[in-house]
Amino acid sequence: MNFMASTQPENRLLGPQSDSQRTLYPYVTGTSVVALKYKDGILMAADMGGSYGSTLRYKSVERMKPIGKHSLLGASGEISDFQEILRYLDELILYDNMWDDGNSLGPKEVHNYLTRVMYNRRNKFNPLWNSLVLGGVKNGQKYLGMVNMIGVNFEDNHVATGFGNHLARPILRQEWHENLSFEDGVRLLEKCMRVLLYRDRSAVNKLQVDVFLKMAPNQIYSLAKLLWSLT
């Protein structure tokens, strides 16, 4: 019988070692991601900045990546957590491919997986400090969803993260309509990103705009645009 009280906490999240084991605050962060559904698929835009607090430190960070054959993932928040999420998804897609059964994970499935991961991490008080936008097309069906670090998730015709929610979504609510053409969609996104560049101090003037096409799901166009006139 051990009569001495144990000095080691049972759970590593309690006691003196707890703080070094979980995410307390983000360090290198990305700002808003804005995405919308258009006639032939999904359009997503994010700037290429990684801020270190108030310093705009990294200016070529790709905050959007294709996932599998059918989806695009855009992230704002802690960049290292985004990289970790990409590793999880890479393994997920690899195992999915190795079945070699003609099936592949679509955007709805990937969004659900991410929601589970984010929510479970939040419940352990060790979140992945990101707001994620997941869009894609599978079997002709367009899908656009969002999930954030506390596990809140939803699906909509247009989504944004961070400041984008306050500055871009009102514009999208007014001007988005079903069957936007590609040019109109890009114009609308550019309008949103322009407002964000004016008003969000952590926005940077170099954009990454990705397109996910309904008809040719394997093609993702990355248009890195530079808006020099607004420096």
Partner: protein, 249 residues
């Protein structure tokens, strides 16, 4: 060439007086009883083929896969006890993903073969484990180009230009030796492998079989995948035609 072990064959931890471990040899017999599995290294990649003997007419074609992807760039064809094979494939997948997460690059095929051989060998060292009753042919494409390895139940692993296991392995090896592999592309290699499998298939003893083939080559962008359906059909047609030509002689 069977020999009775009499007493020295009860455990994998017992040597016989003439220096053999009979349990391992018996494990190899399990591999010899399975359908033929072939792998060849062509100029630009690897082609693997399996003669899947169909146990029952009610099995769905395309089920009971014998060739598995182990990572994006490599795959494994299994001969012998299928359940044992599944275990080896699972272990190989785990080794491959672990290597990539530690070192940041896809596992070199040589390294993967060594790890699998080491694992298979492990199961020949303890009396409370039995050896794997299956052998694998591992084909992959890394920065040193396409490579083919074969791992036997004893844990031996060598690198090959062409390898065969299973019932028709002797006949298959003879056929492979006739091929000029260094000048062949994988497209042609697929046709040749199909021809060999059809040829070594014993119509008398085993009735129906299904041909399963995979490749990893420049044409498949160095990814391991099933041979595309149209090419597979072409190969089957060519193989059947070659057989008829032989029969007509």
């Amino acid at each position: 060439m069977s020999s009775i072990g009499t007493g020295y064959d009860l455990s994998v931890t017992t040597f016989s007086p003439d220096g053999r471990v009979f349990q391992i040899e018996y494990a190899a017999k399990a591999v010899d009883n399975s359908g033929t599995v072939i792998g060849i290294k062509c100029k630009d990649g690897i082609v693997m083929g399996v003669e899947k003997l169909i146990a029952s007419k009610m099995m769905l074609t395309g089920s009971n896969r014998r060739i598995h992807s182990v990572h994006r760039h490599s795959g494994m064809a299994v001969a012998g006890l299928a359940a044992d094979g599944r275990q080896i494939v699972a272990r190989a997948k785990s080794e491959a993903t672990n290597y990539e997460s530690v070192y940041g690059e896809p596992i070199p095929v040589k390294e993967l073969a060594e790890r699998i051989a080491s694992y298979v060998h492990l199961c020949t060292l303890y009396w409370w484990l039995r050896p794997f009753g299956c052998g694998v042919i591992l084909g992959g494409y890394d920065r040193d180009g396409p490579q083919l390895y074969m791992v036997e139940p004893s844990g031996i692993s060598y690198r090959y230009f062409g390898a065969a296991m299973g019932k028709g392995k002797q006949a298959a090896k003879t056929e492979i030796e006739k091929l000029k592999l260094s000048e062949m592309t994988c497209r042609d290699g697929v046709i040749e492998v199909a021809k060999i499998i059809y040829k070594v298939h014993d119509e008398a003893k085993d009735k129906a079989f299904e041909l399963e083939m995979s490749w990893v080559c420049d044409e498949s962008k160095q990814q391991h995948q099933k041979v595309p359906d149209d090419l597979l059909e072409e190969a089957k047609v060519a193989a059947r035609a070659a057989l008829e030509e032989m029969d007509a002689d």
